[in-house]
Symmetry: C2
Subunit: 235 residues, 2 copies
């Protein structure tokens, strides 16, 4: 398999860094190919605007999706986006490695999605969800948190992590056709000590060697919706 | 009132631009003070790392929250963050104006939160939710979407907008003590035509003149949780 890790942490010696280095080791030992985009190390720019393109469909009024369609037809993405598109289209498994910041991905990673997941290339013209461009590939979030698991339970102060991750799992991964694996979460890593962190690395290794056999999360399929309104049948 | 609009759209002539200009006009006419941070126009950098600080608590290992605490004690934020902190602490109402990208805020706006909402200054030491630094202030999302309202209903293909916005409403606004007003949503603005857009501007104006009397959304209060575990009482 070709595994593509998009890594978003400003400190290389962080536990996020340790998780990605461990993933490279474990997956390579299994004979898989691993590609890492280390966004901070690359100096990735997360701002999405005209800087995404070498072409201009409309030089007066900037409409992002129109420029994306045009760039997809005419090879108009800047090299740093084109490179990420190629890594994404080539991979079998996509992993986002990040610390949970404000109950979501850090801006540098959100801006990787904003810029790389371009209309016309990664979605559009009826290619989404079950008919998505990325169907057949798998995706997984691997994240660290500042707080413990009980705060992220259904009855916890923050509410369930599953709900908090829904915009990413459903709105980014499923939207483009990816099968979503259960997230790997290293809870409260700053507070748990060396031994617990070693156990997290071990547990992450176990998840990685079963990337191709893990059951994806269940999301509703197109057949459950009325084709015209895209609302649930019988609702 | 002092109303602070954080505006995130790359095209000044977009409908997002029209909404923010309308807000400035309506609120100023009512005698309110309006401050706008137009993130694209400012060239706002959304990447959060050592660039946030002129001070260094630990020059070897970068731990964001530790550096934020230190910077808060020693005037160590770079000028562009210090300026946003002052606007935020001075305002009575905070508005985020943005197009919904990938079921969340654009990266440039997420990175405004990542960098400005600093531990020790905006939260920390028991100051969060009902005891938050920003308590007494109000916040509202004003957003545009690419699709119509039914797709964002409970039974729609995308699921309810309320759920999708939860990480922002609860995880950013309530977390820091802000009262959360119902979002203003201009649905499917690219497709609805001039007349409907004029009605959206009119409706937004109505929302703006009642910012101080609108009932905030209901979120659980601390008294509903066990103080020790922060899980719901009786759960």
């Amino acid at each position: 398999m070709n595994v593509f890790i998009v890594h978003a942490h400003p400190e290389p010696q962080s536990f996020n860094g340790a998780l990605t280095r461990h993933a490279q080791k474990v997956l390579t030992a299994q004979g898989h190919q691993v590609v890492v985009s280390d966004l901070h190390a690359m100096g990735w720019d997360p701002v999405s605007d005209r800087r995404n393109f070498v072409t201009r469909k409309d030089p007066i009024f900037f409409k992002q999706q129109q420029e994306e369609l045009h760039a997809g037809e005419s090879g108009g993405f800047v090299p740093e986006i084109q490179a990420e598109l190629e890594k994404l289209l080539r991979c079998d498994v996509l992993i986002f490695q990040f610390p949970l910041w404000w109950f979501s991905v850090p801006a540098i990673l959100k801006g990787w999605v904003d810029r790389v997941f371009a209309m016309g290339t990664i979605y559009g013209s009826g290619r989404w969800f079950g008919t998505g461009v990325l169907r057949g590939k798998r995706a997984m979030l691997s994240l660290t948190t500042g707080s413990g698991e009980t705060r992220f339970s259904e009855d916890g102060l923050f509410g369930s992590l599953e709900q908090l991750l829904l915009p990413i799992h459903h709105g980014i991964f499923r939207f483009t056709g990816l099968d979503v694996l259960p997230p790997f979460v290293a809870w409260s890593v700053a507070h748990v000590g060396e031994e617990a962190r070693a156990r997290y690395l071990e547990a992450y290794g176990q998840r990685l060697v079963s990337l191709d056999t893990t059951e994806p999360l269940r999301f509703p399929s197109f057949s459950e919706f009325e084709p015209r309104t895209l609302t649930r049948k019988g609702a």
